[in-house]
Symmetry: C2
Subunit: 143 residues, 2 copies
DNA sequence: AAATATAGTTGACAAAATCCACTACTCATC
DNA sequence: GATGAGTAGTGGATTTTGTCAACTATATTT
């Protein structure tokens, strides 16, 4: 593998890390961290989501994940339901409040994204999105 | 701005956040965090780098930045030099040890990037890198 | 049924990050 | 050249985020 390619990818990683740091994706002054917002999103998007899945999916320690979900529970955002097939596992679901909270976080994220691309001409935005799709498509199997 | 575009960008952001979380870019079992590695890199790359610049560049609290740089100093990775023009500002430089430390962090990062793209055919890697370059070029002015 | 493995929880702790007050200096204006 | 406003950097106190190891409960393998 060309050393040059590696350097280019690292450069992109530095760049995009900073982009995300600056457009602090979900979290401007909300009581939820970016991580929590991502987890909430995933609970919503996956069916029969479990703590183990989330822990593995995000590469987050299971004890930490347990606490995050506990926190969601205390706030009334999620409920857990013991699986019928395997009584060790608990499926996690959003409550109505959880859905509306996620919704408001998603709106904030949208506003951030808008400021991230504001002033960029249409055709470039299209190119941007094509590029983003390509990256996902190419890296997909390795993630 | 099309709502659909926003959603696509948010999807990419979630995706790439996860990519970077998983290929924990610099930091596998090194005594430096990913943030510290990025800062070390930037001290190396910029000339006449200052704490204020870094703080602003990364969107990191200045007191935290001060502590990180202090830490680098204690470890012998950086030295500071009071500016002649403005005695409030201190330029930061890597020492020889700082450079070699950065180098070894960079090597670890390279290994992570390799595993991130392993098994992906040449032409796709090229496409990947083109896409990454496009994104940087398009977002550059807004960052 | 004994050993091994997985899901999730908890306590204790460590690392990362923020908030705020402070010093030292610079710069502009009177 | 004193005064006030602003910026660079530091340090104390605290909060948030994340890790480690031990534990319970259930499932799976032998």
């Amino acid at each position: 593998m060309s050393e040059n390619n590696i350097q280019e990818i690292k450069k992109f990683n530095r760049f995009y890390t900073r982009v995300m740091g600056i457009f602090n994706l979900y979290t401007d002054k909300s009581p939820f961290s970016a991580t929590e917002a991502l987890i909430l999103f995933e609970i919503h998007a996956r069916k029969n989501c479990t703590a183990a899945f989330l822990s593995n999916y995000f590469g987050i320690d299971k004890s930490y994940m347990s606490r995050i979900i506990k926190h969601f529970g205390r706030e009334g955002l999620t409920i857990k339901e013991v699986s019928q097939e395997d009584r060790r596992v608990q499926h996690i679901f959003l409550t109505e409040l959880g859905r509306s909270t996620l919704n408001s976080l998603a709106n904030k994220a949208s506003i951030n994204v808008e400021s991230m691309i504001e002033g960029i001409p249409e055709d470039q935005i299209d190119h941007l999105i094509d590029s983003m799709k390509s990256i996902q498509k190419i890296l997909y199997k390795n993630i």
